[in-house]
Symmetry: C2
Subunit: 488 residues, 2 copies
Amino acid sequence: MASNSGRRLNIDNINPHVKAAEYAVRGELAVKSEEYRAYLRSGLTDQGVLPFSQVISANIGNPQQLDQKPITFFRQVLSILENPALLEKGDVLVNQLGYQSDVIERAERLLKDVGSVGAYSASNGVPSIRQSVADFLERRDGFPASPSDIYLSAGASSGVNTLLHVICADEKSGILVPIPQYPLYTASLTLLNATCVPYLLDEAKNWGTDFEVIKASYEKAKADGIDVRAIVVINPGNPTGASLPEEDIRAVIEFARQERLVILADEVYQTNVFIGEFISFKRMLRQMQKEKAGLYDTVELASLQSVSKGMVGECGHRGGYFELVNFDPQVQAEIYKFVSIMLCAPVIGQCLVELMVNPPKAGEPSHALYKKEYDSIFDGLRVRANALHKAFEQMEGVECGAPQGSMYLFPTINLPAKAAEAAAAEGRTPDEFYCMRLLEATGVCVVPGSGFGQKEGTLHFRTTFLAPGTEWVGNIVKFHKEFMDKYR
Amino acid sequence: MASNSGRRLNIDNINPHVKAAEYAVRGELAVKSEEYRAYLRSGLTDQGVLPFSQVISANIGNPQQLDQKPITFFRQVLSILENPALLEKGDVLVNQLGYQSDVIERAERLLKDVGSVGAYSASNGVPSIRQSVADFLERRDGFPASPSDIYLSAGASSGVNTLLHVICADEKSGILVPIPQYPLYTASLTLLNATCVPYLLDEAKNWGTDFEVIKASYEKAKADGIDVRAIVVINPGNPTGASLPEEDIRAVIEFARQERLVILADEVYQTNVFIGEFISFKRMLRQMQKEKAGLYDTVELASLQSVSKGMVGECGHRGGYFELVNFDPQVQAEIYKFVSIMLCAPVIGQCLVELMVNPPKAGEPSHALYKKEYDSIFDGLRVRANALHKAFEQMEGVECGAPQGSMYLFPTINLPAKAAEAAAAEGRTPDEFYCMRLLEATGVCVVPGSGFGQKEGTLHFRTTFLAPGTEWVGNIVKFHKEFMDKYR
């Protein structure tokens, strides 16, 4: 008889890979922060008065939960897609609700292509939306793109899940994953019972990739009998905020060619670049194919993008896509079959992808407002990133490079030995301990570096710079000083 | 060197479980039907004139691709959720766009609870929406339900994926699956490298469940060393259209208790019942717990529902939920972690779940229209189901029980030996051969029974009864006569 009073399932007999998977972004700290939020909302004081009046969720890149407003053009179009009967009242939309003519035209065109947003689409997405993505990629990169290589997905996470499912054949299949990384990658590989082959990013070089480090990780895994099949690159970086220079991207492509690795380029932060410019892996790969004819023609690349990040920030709509470059058509057919089992990505999210890649153009009626909103979000992110960075510079034992991209900073924290002892006494790592105390003292929720992986002997935390205001930043500074004084 | 001109991935080295998975609903016939549709739309005649002027997609339960209109109340609320700025013009909405006051109130309430539909929600879904689902389940079943046992999902498919992932520990883990079945189950088990333990439904008994048959399948699997952990029941049935009587449901629960099996009740067609009434597994389980105190308290049940089917028919929105009954809290925590890796279900789809379980009530301003639309869809389905059934009754060698529920009929087709020979010459099963000829002759796309599994020596096809008009039904009758004459 089982110990579990007769139930079939218990913690010891369910899928061990599910049990082993870790996903800190929504772990203990996040749960506790939501409890605080609920307590503050409830108005109760039965568990005492908290030392803060609001919870700041700096743990999740969730722009619209915080200050970021949706882009008006996008949401006006979506409102018509949800209720096409509004088109019968075009004059009311225009004259009384302020919808511009291009909003109505876009909604009409999408409805013509999509039919109802309540119907399943093709498994890989609405054909005309894939065409629109391909057109965007051509404009972005200056190289051709085909709608048959585009797969619309429920956010980039679903795309990563698809690609790792197809690439990993068994437990010996290895995927090179940057450390620190967004934990979707390690969690997905754990679920698949495949092997994560970590390679360290170089904090001293703005968290760039280091060819020799990647090579050493690869060689070690190979010597251990791992069949390394792909390399993940997150650019701009999560959690690091790094924006990779051209030479790093070229080096990864060259390495992928030499060792026959698929490149998984997570490029969901491509519009959030504050220093330099975003360079896509697709553009660089096609450029290298052009420079040395034939040499790179079988380097396989999958590049992912999402409506969740950037100035769009529409996480809740679960829209995204990936493009396959140089893939075998038979493998693409298997990818199509795999996505068809879950039927299709949310259709309204697919439409949002279309709006993201094909926003109002200069001269079109909605362009001025679109540009104003877009630029204002971008500028706001940059200003807050710099303010947060400035605060970190004042904090004892904290080191953080200038904000380059994405929506995160990932500072090093050098904590006193006594803090490490106190953490161990609680059964926590020092960074978890620090983040828990920070949450309890200030209501600011960040994610400890250990949730992403970090070089042994170093400690970090990841914070978004999405939250409005500066008070919470001041609270972090104040907390940090008190923490350091206490454990010095 | 690989045979694949240097590429890393080819059909022989990708995940063998992806390669092995089968999903006929979107397979060869579906692809061919889409090609026909594109050809007809193009207006070209370079490949000859087709013997039909439109493609009827009777292969997929996709109501809004065919005749079914969305429910007005639902879509009006969603249009406001997508563009909350509309609330500033409440008078225009009411006086000029015909929005009732309860549309506006519902949108305001949902926005208050959800924040922006562009933000991630909690991983298991918006708390107030889970509360609304629990309230609905209490009304439906007459037994308590808790929001902490409700998990909002991207359609029921995503819920099935979650549950099978957690339940199946390794390749010896077995799941009892009805045959015929919706191929999501076999495909998911193949991907997970777990074991499908098929049990035949009883066609002679309106495709009901047969206790002895289930027991025999279970015993055989157990003798083969399979660790059978759960039983799937699809009620009302897909592809069978069956609606299970109380005694079948009781027998399954009793069997699950005896053998300690988790029950996975796929109840997505619960509102599409034409004969008798829908009886939920939850209600019956709680009833049995009440009748014999203590005996059934550890029978674990997961019940799935979706916005895709029924009179809602909003497949493209990817909304759904599952409820866990009698599950171990530690196992529920692992399910929470699993769903958090993919962040959350589409938030607009979650809102649609709320609208589905909490539609306008009698006396509320939107109720009359809601009821009219709802009833008209229901009546239309019943009328078309009966017309199709009547046609099948005229067809030589075709046997089909009266329509009971869901949106499908699954007739037996007795084909002449010559047809089987012609099929074999093409490398097809006889039912695939029949369905391919049907598509080529009439433009009507149905799914061969082999795509769902069928008793050896029997042949079937599944058709929806969603398509409007009766012409396509007449075309099937005509085709069938010609087919039988040709191969007699």
